[in-house]
């Protein structure tokens, strides 16, 4: 009897939450997209919410499309495609051991998939993003590197190398800009990324040359008794 009561409470809670999410989506789309797009996006968002996917990116994409004057059917197609990527990203993030990922991480995973990364690579990027690194940020940086023309395998290696070398999240965020600067100097995106990967092996700015990331053992100094 107690189990039935608990289940009923959970179902009621989920229904109420779904209803609130639907109202929220409707309120945010009101007057910003056409009624046709609004109805379609509400349906896609409700389905996404039922699967535990973040709804905000879908709403944002619909608003973006409408603001840019994109025809309604293309907006709906883009929102539907994004919902699909969010689902794939959710699976990839869970594969990395994150059982209840935050919406931001799933959205970052969808960005990375859109940029050409495979689900396996998304899993690897999440797995390597140990604190202080935020998986959402790691995924977005990787996606931007790929958008700049850095091959996904190389972008993955570069990001992994930076994190394992103890570089900060700010250093990671600066990577796309550095690749772009390299390209402006005449290098290909792959060459620019390779140069950054080599530099990532060294000490970060402000550290002594023999600096090692926290948790790693310093090599023995032969001059010390």
């Amino acid at each position: 009897m107690r189990t039935i009561g608990l289940a009923a409470t959970l179902v009621l809670g989920a229904t109420l939450a779904g209803g609130l999410a639907a109202q929220d989506v409707q309120a945010r789309l009101d007057g910003r997209v056409s009624p046709e797009v609004q109805r379609a996006v509400q349906g896609i968002a409700a389905d996404a919410a039922a699967h535990g996917l973040p709804v905000d990116p879908l709403v944002q994409k619909a608003i973006e499309g409408a603001a840019k004057g994109v025809p309604g059917d293309r907006v709906i197609a883009a929102v539907r495609a994004l919902a699909g990527r969010l689902g794939q990203a959710m699976a990839a993030v869970r594969e990395a051991g994150v059982t209840a990922p935050e919406g931001d991480v799933v959205e970052g995973g969808a960005d990375a998939l859109n940029a050409g990364f495979s689900g396996r690579q998304v899993t690897d990027l999440v797995r390597v993003s140990q604190p202080p690194h935020d998986p959402a940020l790691t995924l977005r940086v990787a996606a931007t590197l790929s958008a700049l023309g850095v091959p996904t395998t190389q972008a993955l290696q570069l990001v992994q190398g930076m994190i394992s070398a103890g570089r900060s999240p700010s250093d990671l965020l600066g990577l796309p800009g550095q690749v772009q600067a390299g390209v402006a100097r005449g290098a290909t995106p792959a060459q620019a990324a390779a140069g950054l990967a080599r530099a990532a092996g060294g000490a970060p700015p402000g550290r002594l040359p023999d600096w090692v990331p926290p948790g790693q053992r310093k090599p023995r100094n032969p001059h010390k008794p």
Partner: protein, 222 residues
Amino acid sequence: MTTGYHPLVKRLLDGELSLAELPPELRAEGEEALHLVGVADRTPVALSPALEERVMAAVRHHAASRDPVSPGNRAWRWLNTPRDVELRLRVRPWTVWAGALAAAAALALLLGRPAPQPMPGPQARGSTRDSVLVRFVLYAPGAHRVAVAGTFNQWDRGAAPLVPAGRSGVWTTTLALPVGQHQYAFVVDGARWVVDPGAPAVDDGFGRRNSVVAVTAHGAQL
């Protein structure tokens, strides 16, 4: 003239060391310092009673001028002066326990409340809440209106207009953006969407491109 004594000589003057304990090379300096201290006039100075009376009168006058005893001041002083107050209560023990339990329950409710959910609206595409001022610049000669729209302002074409810098064709604006990565584009004359030529761009899902800005705690990086 000696401008500064060695620290050991200063300790000698403070009585922490004796002359014999100083190193030989410092003894001459120590003797000189002791000599100077010795010749100082150590006769006690006695102040005349008249001077003391004048000083105290001046102090009283100063205090009175700073604190005129108006009725308001008097009332405030009466309210503010600490007094011993004895409060006697006759209570039944169960009322004390009931009050304590009610206070504990209120505290538990307060601490157990879930954290407020973020409001729907523009969100940082990173994770931290710090904001950084980011300057957007576009060279658009001949444009009548330029704005920047992106994930940080719900793609609102009117939310962040750029201002022309004279007649140079350069348009600028500065926005406070949360740390993280944001997508955006410029809107020229309310209709033409233009990517930032100085920033990386990603596919927007509609067959166009969005510019990307990475905002770190140290500033924006394109």
